[in-house]
Amino acid sequence: MPKTLGMRCRECGEEYPLSPIHVCELCFGPLEVIMNWEEIAPRVSRKSIQAGPPSMWRYHDLLPVEGPPCVGHNVGFTPLVKAERLGKKLGLNNLYIKNDAVNHPTLSFKDRVVATALTKAREFGFDTVACASTGNLANSVAAHAAEGGFKAYIFIPSDLEQGKVLGTLVYGANVLAVKGNYDEVNRLCAEAGGKYGWAFVNITLRPYYGDGSKTFGYEIAEQLGWRAPDHIVVPCAGGSLISKIYKGLNEMNRLGLLENGVPTRMYAAQATGCSPITTAIQTNAEVFRPQKPNTIAKSIAIGNPADGYVAMDTVRKSAGWAADVTDDEVIEGIKLLGSTEGIFTETAGGVTVMVTKKLAEQGRFGADDLVVIAITGNGLKTQEAVQGHLGAPVLIQPNLDALDQALQTDKLLQVV
């Protein structure tokens, strides 16, 4: 029996056979893969998972692909770091960082969704993959396409950070830099849709792609000793990740794998310059208003988030909340995480750290609550954001006198 039975519209419930379609024909709502739990449940246990590889594929039974992975065998199972020093700063005694800044191979959580989507692309028989991306997805699709021998067409906004452009070109992909923001890139790709017979991972393969993010949630719970945390703070762009982490925790609970059910409250983090989801939540609005993004946090600058409603539902259902922070705070957040935990995150991570600080100051977490911050990307890719904000090295001559003198300067006496 197959693991996956079909697809269902999240909005109206209409069902479809498994195929590379991504929206409901009746209402344009997002489709989700229907898993065959009767088939899956009996063979999944803590033991069966622990016997799997140290990667996201230890949860292969729970992912919407039938065969073994065709690419990305080492994606996932990233560190869950106990953040003692950052915790002290925020007044939190049980703070953890789920660190996908060191995900293999392209240093963001997108490797999870791409490994899933490309495995499914091969099962569907595609030889060419494509994506619209704010950068991290571009890197990941290009890398995994190279690994799997797919042709790749990558669409990015033309003002993207250099690191993300180079980090796509190096894999030999065809890169199209579109003169416009991400929402415009997305519209173009939607219009191109099926025209060229490519598998757009975030369009054609969206239902499969999205479920790769569930592994972020599975891993947090397993790494906490099969416990769901009290709170998880997640950066929101298109709005999919936050709902998939929550979905992952609830699936584990349904399978009887968790000690404590799912008490988890989910929190959405955005940059003030692109905050359609957090604004809607904070104002208790039913609908979100699309925005024209204006923020240095480009990886999450999506003004019209496709899964915005799903993200809002997740936050509300879990009794969580939302907050957004300015670009100055984003830089402060990157520096704070770097100087307290030795983790260099990209701008989205700066957002998430500072939103966590803000939520802590609002008293939303108990001091001993178990709080997890989702760090989803690596700072080496967005160096422009912090350039000029970190000071410079102290230049000295290669002799002890010069060193003695330099050590007297204020700069070298600072301790964070």
Binding site: L26, Y182, A190, G194, R206, D307, Y309
Partner: protein
């Protein structure tokens, strides 16, 4: 000049698989009524029971989301290009 309307894949069964169709000037609302007259059943896919654009549908007039313009009352003139696009996951 004609007004062209780009039809997304999920709606092409109404248009005999045509990727684009022609329409007359007016507003987005009159455009939707015209599409309904030519391709019965299409409007209900785009407009919900509340009379508003369904929340997972985006309509663009000359590459601008009508939610940033005047919504369903956004005017459409000769030469404009219209695009109907489902919401797309991000990345």
């Amino acid at each position: 000049m004609a007004i062209s309307v780009l039809i997304p894949t999920p709606l092409r069964k109404f248009t005999n698989n045509q990727e684009a169709v022609q329409a007359s000037p007016g507003s987005v609302a009159t455009l939707l009524a015209e599409l309904e007259a030519n391709f019965p059943g299409m409007e209900a896919r785009l407009i919900g029971p509340d009379g508003e654009l369904r929340r997972f549908v985006n309509i663009y007039v000359n590459e601008e989301d009508i939610r940033f313009l005047q919504g369903l009352q956004t005017p459409i003139a000769d030469g404009d290009s219209i695009s109907i696009v489902p919401a797309i996951a991000g990345g």
